[in-house]
Amino acid sequence: MIDATDQELLARFAAGDGRAFDDIVTKYERRVFSIALRMCGDREDARDVTQDVFVNAMRALKRFRGDAQLGTWFHRVATNASLDHLRKNRKRVHRPIDEVTEVATSEPGPDDRALGSARAAAVQEALRQLSPDHRAAMVLVDIHGLDYAEAAESLGIPVGTVKSRMHRARLEMAKMLGHLRETEPSGPPTPLREEP
């Protein structure tokens, strides 16, 4: 069931209230921008994606049926718009992860804020190196705090798929961030399996 405030906003929008769309933008721009930024890793790209999302929303919300939460709809549109943007800009060269992790993993010095910022840059860079599908799940769940069901609805995939993407993505990130050695632990060829 759609949120009452959103329902009111959409009703005003449908009735031609010019301020209603501004209120929708005000309510959701931060979330849309943040998803776009974490997905694309670049503010300029995030601005473009955010603009695309709301330009499309101007048209699409006229047909919004209210069978999903407006927030969920914006999560989905922001994620898809970011993925489209990434597909169109594949040739862009990114900074190697080693370069940023080197700064981020150095010993804490007097300027903790700068180190925190360097660490955030390293995490962002590692995030950018994930596959887009893994990144989308991780951005929604680990960064924006959606639960698996909400992320599954936003991404249009089953909850089990979200979970397995998250587990793989966290392992990949752990390696990229230096929390985990690249090599698998030594052991026998038949590892233990989880009981069903």
């Binding site: 943040s34 330009v55 101007m58 632990p185 069903p196």
Partner: protein, 248 residues
């Protein structure tokens, strides 16, 4: 020789997603298996890193740019076709500019305080207008351009070329060089100015003999300040900047 869990199972365990029937068994295993515990710890450390990567907010400048872009779209469903400035908006602009008025000077930030011009919010959100003006401006009449905008009549339509789709004239339309998109020039200015600027008017004209766009902006954080930017029509990065306080 020691058995190990698959990394994905350990990642699920670290994430709190392991099957309830297996949790105790995995927990017991990682209690003595250093290799498996390393994976669990690494996944947990990664989750902490990600949680620290908080939601990012757009800056005020970015918010203002988004609203301008959306307002443009709202007023221009056709996309690229530019309207000439209407008499009503021109009159509002004259009224806004006529309040106070002291030329501060090129790249000089002696802002006035208090008593700012009243700028209607819907004007700030309105779409930018690029108006052709046949006159040649120079530094000596920047003040008058800010204080009393020139005639809003359009010059004869351009013969073609890249300017054509913006409906602006100019004798360089047929030249080999391609005129910069005025909208892009505005974006460069607003993104580099580090101030929330709202476009009040734009002119396709000449400045000191060179083809130029002239943009008049209002600093939305300080509505008592107007800014005039002259931009080389063929090179958006080449700008000249003036500002004027409208406070008394």
């Amino acid at each position: 020789m020691r058995n190990h869990y698959e990394p994905e199972i350990l990642a699920a365990f670290a994430s709190g997603d392991a099957e309830p029937s297996s949790r105790a068994q995995i927990d017991g295993h990682v209690g003595y298996c250093d290799d498996c515990r390393e994976i669990v710890d690494a996944v947990r450390a990664t989750m902490i890193d990600l949680a620290d990567l908080s939601e990012e907010e757009p800056t005020e400048l970015e918010r203002a740019a988004l609203r301008r872009a959306l307002a443009q779209r709202r007023h221009q469903p056709g996309g690229l076709t530019r309207r000439m400035m209407t008499a009503a908006s021109a009159a509002a602009l004259v009224a806004a500019l006529a309040i106070g008025g002291s030329m501060v000077g090129e790249r000089n930030s002696q802002d006035g305080t208090g008593g700012g011009a009243e700028i209607a919010s819907d004007m700030l959100m309105d779409s930018p207008e690029i108006v052709t003006d046949a006159r040649n401006f120079d530094r000596s009449n920047v003040g008058s351009l800010l204080a009393a905008p020139p005639s809003m009549r359009a010059a004869p339509a351009t013969k073609g070329g890249p300017d054509a789709e913006y409906g602006v004239g100019g004798d360089d339309a047929g030249a080999a060089r391609i005129a910069a998109d005025p909208q892009r020039c505005q974006q460069i200015i607003t993104s580099t100015a580090k101030r929330p600027l709202a476009l009040r008017s734009g002119y396709d004209t000449h400045f000191e003999g060179r083809p130029a766009y002239i943009f008049v902006f209002v600093d939305t954080a300080r509505e008592d300040r107007l800014e005039l930017w002259v931009v080389d029509r063929f090179d958006c990065e080449n700008t000249l900047y003036f500002e004027q306080s409208t406070s008394k």
